[in-house]
């Protein structure tokens, strides 16, 4: 038992590892530049500075702080004409330009030299731009070059500016020297374009060790390293844990309600199978099962809390439970606010559970042991309570584990409708606001809950029914 459980857990960990890699790559596919998202949080001066060199410095600083200047994964595969320090080039638009140059020229050293010389030019010329027109021109030229993907037009830009700056009297020897180096660099690249080299097509593998973004990201999840929310700068984990408690409360109540009521209704319908009133209950349950929870929620709000018909229940939120004078009052406030959401969440699963329970009770009554108990003169009540009930419960118990992830997904839309500050609503609001550092931890959290609830199902099943010998398939 323990061994197979351990093996299951190990499998689950491997599975979570794969899931985390997929989630990580998804988080890298989101639109927009991550570093730019963080810039306004980490560096308030950034927006004010127009100097491209200073912008770059600030960008690099933030990228380093958030460890976004690392390679993505332990291993990277690059075409051999790409420079191996490609991932260190930031911002991403620069990286794209350098990539294009390297692709065109097949010269990785030459491309990197050109890029470094361009950066030197930026660092030298842009701070001087106000003082001298020549430096200003050089600064503008370099910025333009960094957005020019085509090598030939880049060469053309340099030639044009070279003649202009050479005429300018304010040009210092350093300016001219930088121009010359740039010219030399780019001529080298231009000369080698268009010559296909078979050897350069082969991919090269680079091993980065633990110094990579995925490692930091995943390590951060395991140790709950503070993550900054992009909207308000709060720690994402504290947001998530605040939200988690409400989700647990909501789902816990719904779960208990669904199971208790579902089992009771199922028992009743199982023992009254075929009667007219049972058929009516059955039809109602079937209808409840098909009722989309978000429609039920809007109906509840419209009829019971908007004041159009009644306003028995509050329409949303959790109410002023903070200002309650004692514990009872606090829970009274909370429970009136939670009644409708819990009902909406519970009714669907209730219908499902009771239908399953009914089926299994009916099946149990057809078993031969019931007949023998009856022939021994055991009363129907005892048969039901001591024998049928226990055996009929197995299928329902196995559903408990499987229902957890479904509840988690289902509560998202209910939380949004009733504006309960739980995980689902946090996920939704963060997603709409493109607050990715909050979205992906929630996704991983949900994945962990899902994977481990499958194990839970197996364990409960085995515990409830010792006839299940092996945990394997």
């Amino acid at each position: 038992m323990i061994r197979s459980l351990l093996r299951r857990c190990l499998n689950a960990l491997v599975l979570l590892g794969v899931i985390s890699i997929i989630a990580f790559y998804l988080s890298k596919l989101v639109p927009g530049d991550e570093v730019l998202d963080y810039l306004s949080l980490d560096d308030s001066k950034y927006a004010a500075s127009v100097d491209p060199f200073e912008q770059r410095v600030a960008y690099a600083r933030v990228a380093k702080k958030r460890s976004l200047d690392l390679p993505l994964f332990y291993l990277s595969v690059l075409p051999s004409n790409y420079p191996d320090s490609l991932f260190l080039i930031l911002p991403v638009s620069d990286r794209q330009t350098v990539k294009k140059w390297a692709q065109a020229s097949n010269q990785k050293e030459g491309t990197i030299d050109l890029y470094h010389d361009l950066q030197r030019g930026l660092g030298y010329a842009c701070p001087l731009a106000d003082a001298s027109p020549a430096a200003n021109q050089l600064c503008q030229m370099v910025s333009e070059l960094l957005h020019t993907h085509d090598l030939f037009s880049a060469h053309h830009i340099i030639l044009r500016h070279h003649s202009l700056i050479a005429k300018d009297s304010s040009a210092t020897p350093e300016t001219l020297a930088i121009l010359d180096t740039l010219n030399k660099d780019i001529e080298l690249l231009v000369r080698s374009t268009g010559k296909p080299q078979m050897a350069k097509w082969l991919p090269v593998f680079y091993w980065h060790g633990t110094h990579n973004q995925y490692h930091q990201w995943m390590g951060g999840f395991i140790t709950f390293k503070p993550l900054t929310s992009l909207i308000d700068g709060r720690n994402a984990w504290s947001k998530i844990f605040d939200a988690l408690s409400w989700t647990l409360l909501l789902n816990g109540l719904a779960f208990i309600l669904a199971i208790v009521l579902g089992v009771l209704i199922g028992l009743w319908s199982g023992t009254h199978d075929g009667l007219k009133k049972e058929r009516v209950v059955n039809i109602i349950l079937f209808t409840l099962f098909a009722l989309p929870s978000f429609w039920l929620a809007t109906l509840f709000i419209y009829f019971l809390s908007s004041g159009e018909w009644f306003s028995i229940f509050p329409a949303g939120g959790l109410g002023p439970y903070h200002s309650a004078s004692n514990v009872f009052q606090k829970w009274a406030v909370l429970l009136t606010h939670l009644t409708l959401p819990v009902l909406c969440l519970a009714l669907g699963s209730l219908a499902y559970i009771s239908r399953q329970m009914k089926q299994s009770v009916v099946n149990q009554f057809h078993q031969p042991y019931v007949l023998s108990l009856r022939s021994l003169g055991v009363s129907e009540k005892t048969i039901l309570r001591k024998h049928v009930f226990r055996n009929a419960l197995f299928p329902v118990i196995t559903m408990i584990g499987g229902a957890l992830p479904a509840l988690l997904s289902g509560s998202l839309i209910i939380e949004v409708i009733f504006s309960i500050p739980g995980m689902g609503r946090l996920m939704y609001t963060s997603l709409v606001a493109r607050d990715w550092p909050v979205v992906f931890p929630i996704l991983m959290f949900g994945a962990a809950i899902t994977v481990f609830s499958y194990i839970l199902t197996d364990v409960i099943y085995k515990w409830a029914d010792p006839r299940v010998k092996s945990l394997e398939t």
């Binding site: 998804l26 429609w295 809007t298």
Partner: protein, 399 residues
């Protein structure tokens, strides 16, 4: 006609009760509206006559501005207000995008609506003054397309993978060393091609060609003697299944739809299909496992019928019914997922309208009961019909 009646009688569950028949009829009704929607609710008339000239705007590309330039005396031509000499309008003279400025937003069905009854909004208008009935007719099309489309894709992926996983298991599919080398070689070459400095189109064409060539070679070199190297198909397929099942489904759909830069029902459909194929594969796997033990399959194996033929002729057709049952339930869950997404306002472009969108608008305007009642009941009755049919079919197959 007789044939049609016998076809209808052959529908699963038709004979098992009134409710199932009603469910089938309701689905046919929804399907009919989905197909002919643009010809039922459209601001363009079928036929109109202006200055003695006849036009068929709904069937040709005649537009309001085109008519205005042809008939300057009537300019500007408006489908609703221009006095045509004779006109034959659609039953609902509003398209799902038509904004009726005269009526205004949030008009109740029972409100005193201006103008004559022909332009009445029978189910009211939404936040922008669009006709709710026209929006619901559009919604039929979107829901059915996404529901059926995503599940068809899921079926096409899930059924082959699931049956292969169950049939060959972890040890059943063995490659000879030659075949293994062919596979390894193709994989390496395809990998290398993706790093070559050529356009993506060339890369894909070359890769597809290579893969097809490899499949041809593997097929040609197949032999009845078993090879040495086993391919663990079951583990591979079930690995992917458990990875996708490991994600919380709604969260993943939301994130995927938000990340993909394109908007539209195709993206929503593909995303739902991606998340639904594992359940089809698991279902198929369980079915094939059951069938594998039956005597007629064992007999076929003894007679040396190739696996491919056993699967195609003797297994997949007989697994059709149980798979179709899970297909019906799958369609309902796909429609539910689609309307949840639309309700949350994620996925479809903002000008698109469907049941979930209409329902969501009622949240900003609590007294708009018609926006709660009609779109919601459309979703509800569609789901209820699908559940009823699935349930009846399941009961039939258990007998």
């Amino acid at each position: 006609m007789k044939k049609l009646i016998s076809l209808i009688r052959a529908l699963p569950g038709w004979s098992s009760g009134f409710s199932v028949r009603f469910a089938w009829l309701f689905l046919f009704f929804i399907g009919f509206i989905a197909v002919f929607g643009p010809w039922i609710a459209n601001e363009k008339p079928y036929y109109c006559k202006l200055d003695g000239q006849s036009y068929f705007p709904l069937f040709t590309s005649v537009s309001e501005s085109g008519l205005s330039s042809k008939h300057p005396s009537h300019s500007p031509v408006n489908w609703h207000t221009t006095k045509f000499e004779s006109v034959w309008r659609t039953p609902i003279p509003f398209g799902y995008r038509t904004i009726d400025l005269k009526a205004g937003s949030y008009i109740s069905p029972f409100a005193d609506q201006a103008g004559n009854n022909r332009f009445r909004h029978w189910l009211g208008t939404d936040a922008l003054g669009r006709d709710v009935l026209a929006g619901m007719i559009r919604g039929c099309r979107v829901s059915l397309l996404i529901g059926l489309g995503s599940m068809l894709i899921a079926l096409l992926i899930g059924v082959p993978l699931g049956s292969a996983a169950a049939w060959w298991g972890n040890k059943g599919w063995r490659l000879t060393i030659l075949q293994f080398i062919i596979m390894l070689f193709t994989c390496t070459v395809v990998f290398l091609v993706w790093f070559a400095p050529i356009t993506i189109l060339t890369k894909s064409l070359v890769s597809v060609f290579l893969v097809l060539a490899a499949i041809y070679l593997l097929w040609k070199s197949r032999s009845y003697s078993r090879g040495r190297i086993a391919v663990p198909i079951d583990q591979l397929v079930m690995g992917w299944v458990s990875i996708i099942d490991g994600f919380p489904a709604l969260f993943l759909i939301l994130i995927l739809v938000a990340i993909v830069p394109l908007k539209g029902w195709v993206v929503v459909m593909l995303t739902i299909a991606l998340l639904r194929w594992p359940s089809m594969a698991r279902y198929m796997r369980a079915e094939v496992f059951k069938m594998k033990e039956s005597n007629y399959i064992k007999a076929a194996q003894i007679l040396n019928v190739p696996s491919w033929q056993i699967l195609r002729r003797h297994i997949v057709p007989y697994a059709f019914r149980p798979v179709m049952i899970s297909f019906v339930f799958g369609v309902s869950s796909a429609i539910l997922a689609e309307s949840s997404l639309s309700f949350l306002g994620i996925g479809l472009p903002t000008e698109e309208i469907n049941w979930g969108r209409l329902l969501a608008q009622s949240r900003n305007h609590f007294d708009a009961w018609w926006l709660v009642l009609f779109p919601g009941s459309a979703i509800f009755f569609t789901l209820l019909s699908l559940y009823t049919i699935g349930n009846a079919w399941q009961k039939l197959s258990e007998k």
